[in-house]
């Protein structure tokens, strides 16, 4: 369902299989961008106040229909292990893993960028020494993943996976290539805005999160059901990095800043309550 579309497959040997797969797949393949847009707008109109997270029940992203819980979650006071987070250290992550442009013999194609920012909790405390993992498409919008069949070129010099540990003030920093937008099969002519996937740990288990960072001014924002699943515009804006000329390195890379705020810690939560 969410395999990427391949509209330029005429010369490929498996084109027949792909075409039948598209035909056989549900309404998703026949739904237009305008129809998805109308669904997005209808859901946005149901918002009555601040929301800080995506809706789990968000049908414009078709794969969510059978995968969202329909019963209310139960609130638990975090206990024991939930008040701590797993520990990662220098034995887990090599500092070189933060540079995605040096993982192969040659240099990857594309716009070299630095992405940096701070990871803090909701009280503004830095999350120090914690693991940050990223993965992304290459500059042509192609992932090095066997399920990604978008007919854009792979880059033999780019894998698109990086890791680092945050510094004492919560700072993370990656050097990479600006990813391209890519098509997928949620509906006809569906395209994801360019993004980098981020996986984050806090100082408590309860702060674990995975998200996506976007680039400023992407023309696909309004069309993308994954970005729009965060129906509060103020909240989804927080996923967009800022161009920062102070991060830009002369003659090397342009710079983006993106700060990440995790949910509040509960050990401090009870102190401040």
């Amino acid at each position: 369902m969410e395999q990427k579309s391949r509209t330029h497959t005429a010369v490929r040997p498996n084109v027949v299989v792909v075409t039948e797969a598209v035909r056989a797949s549900s309404d998703a393949a026949a739904t237009t961008q305008a129809e998805i847009g109308a669904e997005i707008a209808a859901i946005a109109a149901t918002r009555t106040g601040e929301e800080t997270q995506p809706r789990l029940d968000y049908a414009p992203y078709r794969s969510s229909i059978l995968r969202h819980p329909t019963k209310s979650p139960y609130q638990a006071d975090p206990e024991a292990v939930e008040l701590f987070a797993p520990v990662f250290g220098p034995q887990d992550v090599d500092p070189l893993e933060a540079d995605l442009t040096i993982q192969h013999l040659g240099e990857p194609i594309g716009e070299r960028i630095v992405v940096t920012g701070r990871v803090t909790d909701g009280d503004g405390k830095p999350v120090a020494n914690q693991l940050v993992e990223i993965w992304q498409a290459n500059s042509a919008g192609r992932y090095l993943h066997q399920r990604d069949q978008h007919p854009a070129p792979l880059d033999p010099n780019f894998t698109g996976v990086g890791r680092c540990l945050t510094g004492p003030d919560g700072t993370y920093r990656f050097t990479t290539i600006k990813p391209g937008p890519y098509p997928w099969r949620n509906h006809v002519n569906a395209w994801r805005p360019a993004h980098i996937h981020f996986s984050l740990f806090g100082s408590e288990f309860t702060q674990r999160m995975v998200t996506q960072m976007y680039f400023p001014g992407d023309p696909l924002f309004g069309l993308d059901p994954i970005y729009q699943s965060i129906v509060d515009p103020a909240a989804r804006d927080r996923l967009v990095a800022t161009y920062d000329h102070d991060v830009t390195l002369p003659e090397v890379a342009t710079g983006y800043r993106w700060d990440i705020v995790l949910t509040g810690g509960h050990r401090t939560w009870s102190e401040s309550a």
């Binding site: 601040e50 997270q53 995968r67 797993p86 220098p90 887990d92 996986s199 309860t206 699943s229 995790l262």
Partner: protein
């Protein structure tokens, strides 16, 4: 929704989560991720099960993480989960489901009532938290749940250890957990 009540506002609003998407498979899983202890460890047990969607179909593109106390009930504070050294128990593991929705961890029985679990999947807009309670365990949270929902959080003992299925939606839907301050 404590954040909306006015008195307990965090200083900053949290960054929203997003789906893990379809392509994490070459980035997040790693050799040894599901093995908190080596398979031949004398105290090793298997924690395994299947992840199901609302139609009862297996979810082949889910990622589960567990975080747990050691056998004595202490919370591990040691690094080394990504490059397992074969003897340090760090308490944390990560496993993908296979093409029929099954996952499997090798770990030890914690000296605590439950193992904390995080669930990610393509099509799941944000992570879900849950608890894997040991058979016979009881605590105030578990006892506060209606009996028919309670059993979705209790692992079943089997020959190799523990069996725990995750059902994302429907009659047998797993109880998912939020914590104060989450919305």
């Amino acid at each position: 929704m404590i954040g909306a009540s006015g008195t307990n506002h965090p200083v900053s609003r949290p960054t929203p989560g997003q789906t893990i998407g379809p392509f994490y498979g070459y980035a997040l899983p790693y050799e040894g991720g599901p093995d908190l202890v080596p398979k031949g460890h004398p105290d090793a047990i298997r924690l395994h099960g299947v992840v199901l969607d609302g139609a009862g179909a297996p979810v082949p593109d889910a990622l589960l993480e567990i975080w747990q106390a050691d056998r004595t009930g202490d919370v591990p504070r040691k690094a080394g989960s990504l490059h397992r050294d074969g003897h340090t128990f760090t308490g944390w593991g990560r496993a993908s489901t296979n093409n029929v929705g099954e996952y499997s961890f090798t770990t030890v029985m914690p000296g605590a009532p439950f193992i904390a679990m995080t669930v990610f999947a393509r099509g799941l807009m944000n992570r879900l938290f849950t608890r894997v309670y040991l058979p016979g365990a009881a605590d105030p949270f578990l006892l506060s749940l209606p009996p028919d929902r309670r059993e979705t959080l209790v692992a079943e003992k089997d020959a190799g250890g523990l069996r725990f299925d995750v059902t994302l939606q429907g009659d047998r839907e797993t109880v998912f957990i939020t914590y104060p301050g989450h919305s």
